[in-house]
């Protein structure tokens, strides 16, 4: 066996070990959250709002945070969808392969990279100017900014997979770009577009730094779009910050709830991707 072969074997071993290491860290994270979160998880946590003294270990649950997070991420995702879909369609159908769309993609990629705490700070400033206090609306605005680039680029890449011939066939039949976009392209790519939406939703529901300034926190369920609202990530953060082990256990349970939501979203989008390959004309 010569030196080259040995070198290759060593590096191949290192590569496999690295892959195992990366996957192992995923297992470790999920394992830790399940192991510490599961014992503290019970039905009351999922169905009750915090009662008096909850943060000292008394009765209650995190329903406020679960509902709040669904409202926040749901609202932001709906708002992003309305803005993202036209942008993605514009990039792919009205301005494909132009300098304009290249620059737009660059901007979106850069926006994707901006830390969520900066979106939080920016959203907070916007709210001050608009005269809104920390509220569901404020949180939705900040999260929309966060989700927008993720959703647009996801949709953009999904639509890019539609064969050019299909778009051209539609245009050749006399359809306008607009009709091609909504009647052909969107229909063809619906599962992949939905995957992009789910991805953005997952990002939104898991983000803490952007809602920290903008959504506030409350033990009650939100009754209006202008009232403050709790969120799961912040519930985890605040409960962990208390000095009481019983409450910290609840933080782990809350983290498990959030992780389960993320897992469900991930599995759903895998399933949708599977459907995509059977539905689309290639």
């Amino acid at each position: 066996m010569n030196r080259h072969k040995i070198e290759e074997l060593i590096f191949k071993g290192l590569m496999m070990a690295s892959t195992m290491f990366v996957l192992g860290s995923l297992v470790l994270i999920l394992g830790t959250v399940i192991w510490r979160g599961l014992p503290a998880l019970n039905l009351a946590m999922l169905t009750q709002t915090p009662k008096g003294g909850y943060y000292m270990g008394k009765e209650g649950g995190i329903l406020n945070a679960i509902v709040g997070s669904l409202y926040l991420a749901g609202g932001a995702t709906a708002l992003s969808l309305v803005i993202s879909l036209p942008i993605a369609l514009y990039l792919q159908i009205y301005a494909p392969r132009t300098r304009q769309s290249e620059v737009a993609r660059l901007v979106l990629d850069v926006l994707w990279g901006i830390p969520s705490i900066v979106y939080g700070a920016f959203g907070f400033t916007l709210m001050l100017w608009l005269g809104i206090r920390a509220s569901l609306l404020g949180g939705i605005i900040a999260l929309t900014l966060l989700e927008l680039p993720i959703m647009v680029r996801g949709m953009d890449e999904a639509i890019a997979l539609v064969p050019n011939a299909l778009k051209e066939a539609s245009l050749a039949l006399g359809a306008t770009c607009l009709e091609t976009a909504f009647k052909v392209v969107v229909k063809q790519t619906a599962p992949a577009l939905l995957t992009a939406v789910l991805l953005a939703f997952g990002r939104g529901i898991g983000d803490a730094a952007s809602v920290l300034f903008t959504a506030g926190y409350t033990d009650r369920l939100p009754d209006s779009i202008l009232s403050p609202v709790a969120s799961l990530p912040l519930a985890i953060f605040f409960q962990l910050g208390t000095p009481f082990p019983a409450v910290q256990d609840r933080a782990y349970a809350s983290a498990l709830v959030l992780t389960i939501i993320i897992l469900i979203l991930s599995l759903t989008s895998r399933w949708l991707t599977g459907r995509l390959t059977t539905n689309i004309v290639r």
Binding site: H4, K5, E7, E8, F11, K12, L14, M15, A17, S18, T19, F21, V22, S25, I29, T32, V33, I87, Y90, L106, V107, L108, D109, V110, L111, G113, I114, P115, S116, I117, V118, G120, A121, F122, F124, L148, P149, T176, C177, L178, A181, L199, R203, I205, G206, D207, A208, A209, L212, P233, I236, F237, L240, Y252, A255, L258, T259, I262, L265, S266
Partner: protein
């Protein structure tokens, strides 16, 4: 006027929406093009507005304090009006650098493995799992850090390295808890794995197959081909992937905040606590309105984060775009 409104209401009432949908098809198309183009343009405007707004909000402090005092002073006493960002900037840099040192080698090796060696079945199993790693919320990373990484640093790494290498300042243990730069770095490293792996794997996949075959056909082994041809060809893209990972780590807030100790000091050892910029912003948003200049200082911190991340992202995205276009 009244009649027009009535007409509109009538048409809306009939559910015809004729004002918009009664337009001819080409007109609708032109209108849609205009609206969608404006929306696209608005993303660029958003970026500019963010920079301008953060700049304007931090102007009160930028106007009265010299930049070098803000960036290089170590005194942080908001009540006395002293705002030196130096400890926080150094905290961010330390944590980020440690994260990159831990994350880059295994990420690159994994990316090479997935792109060059793994069977398509292995890839189909591994890649979704790595995507999942990218989707885990940062607070969950933080929980994991508190439960696993911090005790590990405190009970295993610090005693070991401190005992054998404590004479090197970098490994000196002056902090009895595990809440440290190293803990933050480890958590961040795991968070940037998926970023570096996904981008560099894509870049390596984009190396023309003919180039690999040219090397293999000369009798080179697969590893020689990777080392001399594939990696050399994809080097700019791989660097871009690392820079992207760096800027992701640079702005990460909650997970780091939960494990890094948050002591405003200039760190000297990986076991020291630190106070990164994002943690500073997140921890003090509540009181910032009550102290003069405090909110301007925190907005300034956001501006620093934004500009650094913007710069790094711009560089790496431009490199990646060029690579993809050449392909």
């Amino acid at each position: 006027m009244e009649k027009t409104l009535q007409l509109i209401r009538y048409q809306l009432g009939k559910g015809k929406w004729n004002i918009v949908f009664g337009l001819s098809r080409p007109t609708k198309d032109r209108l849609a093009r205009r609206i969608m183009g404006l929306l696209t343009l608005s993303t660029g405007i958003l970026l500019l507005v963010m920079i301008l707004v953060l700049f304007a909000r931090s102007w009160p402090i930028l106007a009265i304090k010299p930049l070098e005092e803000l960036l290089f002073s170590t005194t942080w006493q908001p009540l006395q009006g002293a705002f030196g960002f130096y400890p926080f900037i150094m905290g961010t840099l330390w944590v980020t650098m440690i994260a990159m040192i831990i994350a880059a080698p295994p990420s690159l090796l994994t990316a090479i493995y997935l792109a060059e060696y793994a069977s398509s079945r292995t890839r189909e199993i591994v890649k979704p799992l790595i995507d999942l790693l990218a989707g885990i919320p940062s607070v969950v990373y933080g929980i994991w850090g508190v439960l696993t990484v911090v005790p590990f640093v405190q009970d295993v790494i610090a005693p070991f390295l401190g005992h054998w290498f404590g004479f090197i300042p970098l490994f000196q243990v002056n902090n009895p808890t595990g809440y440290s730069i190293l803990a933050g770095g480890i958590v961040l490293a795991v968070m940037v794995f998926p970023v570096i792996i996904a981008v560099s794997e894509e870049v390596i996949q984009a190396v023309p197959q003919g180039l690999r075959e040219a090397s293999l056909a000369l009798g080179a082994t697969r590893w020689q081909t990777i080392k001399h041809v594939v990696l050399r060809y994809s080097l700019p893209g791989v660097m871009a992937a690392i820079v992207l990972g760096f800027s992701r780590a640079f702005g990460e807030t909650m997970a780091v905040l939960m494990v890094v100790g948050n002591v405003p000091q200039v760190p000297h050892s990986i076991f020291d606590a630190a106070y990164p910029l994002p943690a500073l912003i997140a921890n003090n948003y509540g009181e910032m309105m009550s102290i003069p200049l405090y909110d301007a200082a925190l907005m300034g911190a956001s501006l620093i984060l934004l500009l650094v991340v913007l710069l790094f992202n711009l560089i790496s995205r431009l490199i990646l775009m060029r690579l993809v276009r050449f392909e």
